[in-house]
């Protein structure tokens, strides 16, 4: 009887151990250098990696909207100022030419 029990235990051990080993989750990899405890100085960033494309968006929509409307009003203002300058220049030229005509008429 004892031999039978010993044979059963041995058989079960030989059958179940490989199955148990097969289903066991893979062993945790050895702790990396990054996970090892560090002091404060060692935790500082040592590189900057740029993110490109839409993920890189950090400008607020409000700022862009404000810039767009500012550009519209600024360009319109500059155009009006330019037109005013042209008008003034033309008026001065006309004044000068009128004076010349008056002077030539007086001669």
């Amino acid at each position: 009887m004892r031999a039978l029990i010993a044979a059963l235990v041995l058989g079960c051990t030989m059958l179940l151990v490989p199955v148990a080993l097969a289903e066991e989750p893979p062993a945790e990899p050895a702790a990396t250098a990054a996970e090892t405890p560090k002091d404060a100085a060692e935790e500082r960033a040592t590189q900057f990696v740029g993110v490109r494309g839409p993920e890189a968006e950090s400008i607020s929509g409000g700022a862009l909207l404000l810039a767009a409307y500012a550009i519209v009003w600024a360009l319109l203002f500059l155009f009006l100022m330019r037109m005013r300058g042209l008008q003034r220049q033309t008026a001065e030229e006309l004044e000068r030419l009128s004076a010349e005509i008056r002077a030539s008429g007086a001669r």
Binding site: G62, L65, A67, V72, L86, Q87, L94, L97, S104
Partner: protein, 232 residues
């Protein structure tokens, strides 16, 4: 010009000016209070209400320039040349607005400031053609040859306008097509806000072309007077 006609013109000018100012006030209210914030893009989509009507005002300016230039080539009347110059300047102003406000919107919507999309590229091309027109006309007092060459350039440039308009339908690109396309379009508040903005920009374009053409005619008359005095 008779004083009665001058007075009538001045009254019309004042009416258009006040109507445009009132429309701009209403448009700004509609943009920031009435029109909802767009779901995907957020508040930056509100650039749309100035960006698209500016593109339309650009069409008006360049179209007027082409008409003025074509009639000038046929009749050689300086008043049509003045209209051509005024249209080109106002069109270029609005083209610049389109080309500067577009990238601000695109940065948020597409993640880039600029892309060689067909509509963007053809708009830039139109701006460059009319910038060449203005560069040619800014070289002192333009003679007859310069005026005729510039008029031809305006007619060449206006061919690009249908390309800008239909580029989003004919060629693949990233530009939205909410007005000209067959998508979901706009919500009613957005639609009315855009309509109001279109009318305001039309008034503004008309006023600017009108004022600029008037200044150009005065400059032309002054130049002629100066020439007559020189030959006395």
């Amino acid at each position: 010009m008779s004083s009665a006609r001058q007075s009538g013109t001045s009254t019309v000018w004042s009416l258009v000016l006040f109507a445009t100012l009132a429309l701009f006030a209403a448009t700004l209210y509609a943009i920031f209070v009435v029109a909802p914030v767009e779901q995907q893009m957020g508040i930056v989509q509100k650039i749309f209400y100035f960006h698209v009507p500016s593109a339309y005002a650009m069409y008006v300016g360049f179209g007027v320039s082409a008409v003025g230039s074509a009639v000038y080539l046929l009749k050689r009347d300086p008043k049509w040349d003045a209209l051509g110059v005024a249209g080109a300047e106002v069109g270029t102003l609005f083209c610049l607005i389109v080309l500067l406000t577009g990238p601000l919107w695109a940065r948020k919507a597409w993640g880039v400031w600029w892309t060689w999309d067909p509509r963007l590229t053809t708009t830039l091309l139109a701006g460059m053609i009319f910038a060449a027109y203005l560069a040619l006309r800014s070289m002192g007092d333009a003679g007859e040859v310069e005026k005729r060459f510039a008029a031809g350039l305006a007619l060449f440039g206006v061919v690009d306008l249908p390309l800008i308009h239909y580029s989003v339908q004919r060629w693949r690109g990233g530009h939205p097509t909410v007005i000209t396309g067959k998508g979901g379009g706009l919500e009613s508040e957005m639609y009315w806000t855009l309509g109001l903005s279109f009318i305001a920009f039309t008034g503004l374009a008309v006023l600017l072309i009108w004022a600029r053409a008037s200044v150009e005619r005065q400059r032309e008359q002054t130049a002629r007077l100066r020439l007559e005095l020189m030959h006395r």
